[in-house]
């Protein structure tokens, strides 16, 4: 267990953790300028909050926690910008359009998903991560925001609805649309092969 360093030394935070924080932010934001800003804001906030750092966690964990909040704030702010508002004002109609292509009139799969012998093995395959990242990038901006908050950040749906100002029905429809879209995208872009 680490003890808190006796000095508040932001220059050392930057030297020791700056690259890590930047890579973390870049992974979430995929935007170099925004990631740089996030690191700066994180360190400035850390400087103000230093007195409250308990030393219960490592400095890196503490800084990463601050960074996560900063990134969430940015997502929330972005969600209110015009380019992130829904492409379609009616997520249910959008889901219905996708479902029309996937299910027949009786609601059965036109092309049923295949069962894989060991799906979790995919998590060790570079090919899988390439396809998965590609598919995530293909989500519509609002869908990507909602899905990210729910699945990557673990926010509950009530919180997401409130932050993004959407109804709980639309929130669910968007999450399902995102999952269905990802599943179909993986089907196209990733060939399951257990022997890989």
């Amino acid at each position: 267990m680490t003890t808190p360093s006796p000095h508040c030394d932001p220059a050392a935070w930057l030297t020791e953790h700056g690259d890590y924080l930047y890579r973390y932010a870049l992974l979430k934001l995929r935007d170099e300028a925004a990631a740089e800003d996030m690191v700066q804001e994180t360190l400035l906030a850390a400087l103000s909050a230093w007195a409250r750092f308990s030393g219960q966690s490592s400095v890196r964990t503490w800084l990463t926690g601050i960074l996560k909040h900063k990134i969430l704030d940015l997502f929330r702010a972005r969600a209110k910008e015009p380019q992130y508002t829904p492409a379609s004002a009616d997520p249910a109609a959008e889901l219905a359009a996708l479902e029309q292509a996937l299910f027949d009139a009786t609601g059965h799969w036109i092309s049923p998903p295949q069962k894989w012998a060991d799906p979790e093995a995919c998590l060790d395959q570079q090919r899988f991560w390439e396809a998965f990242t590609h598919c995530l990038e293909g989500l519509a901006p609002l869908h990507a925001q909602v899905f990210h908050l729910r699945e990557m950040e673990g926010c509950d749906t009530a919180e997401i609805c409130k932050e993004l100002d959407i109804t709980s029905t639309n929130c669910w429809v968007i999450l399902h649309r995102a999952r269905l879209g990802l599943q179909q995208c993986l089907k196209t872009n990733f060939e399951y092969n257990v022997n890989d």
Binding site: R23, E36, Q40, W109, C122, M152, R179, L180
Partner: protein
């Protein structure tokens, strides 16, 4: 009997909230007889797991480019001026 489309809705719902007993029984019965929906269930679970692991698996690799040096200098200046404000 549930259709595959209904079953896919319930499967997705289950990631957001606990299903009611009625929903759960309907879904289990459907999955028993429907291979396609069992495949779909697996892939939803894989997507869910991948989201949880994306940080470790993809990410924060020590070989990726770090902060550009100019940015480091800029941030250092910002930190120093803030420290001067509130010594």
């Amino acid at each position: 009997m549930l259709s595959c489309k209904d079953a896919s809705h319930l499967q997705s719902h289950a990631y957001e909230r606990p299903l009611s007993a009625r929903e759960l029984i309907g879904l289990k019965l459907h999955l028993l007889i429907c291979k396609g929906c069992r495949g779909f269930a697996q892939q939803l679970n894989l997507i869910h797991l991948a989201c949880r692991r994306i940080d470790e698996s993809k990410g924060v690799g020590a070989d990726d480019p770090g902060l550009p040096p100019d940015t480091k200098t800029r941030i250092l200046k910002e930190l120093a001026s803030k420290q001067d404000e509130n010594p």
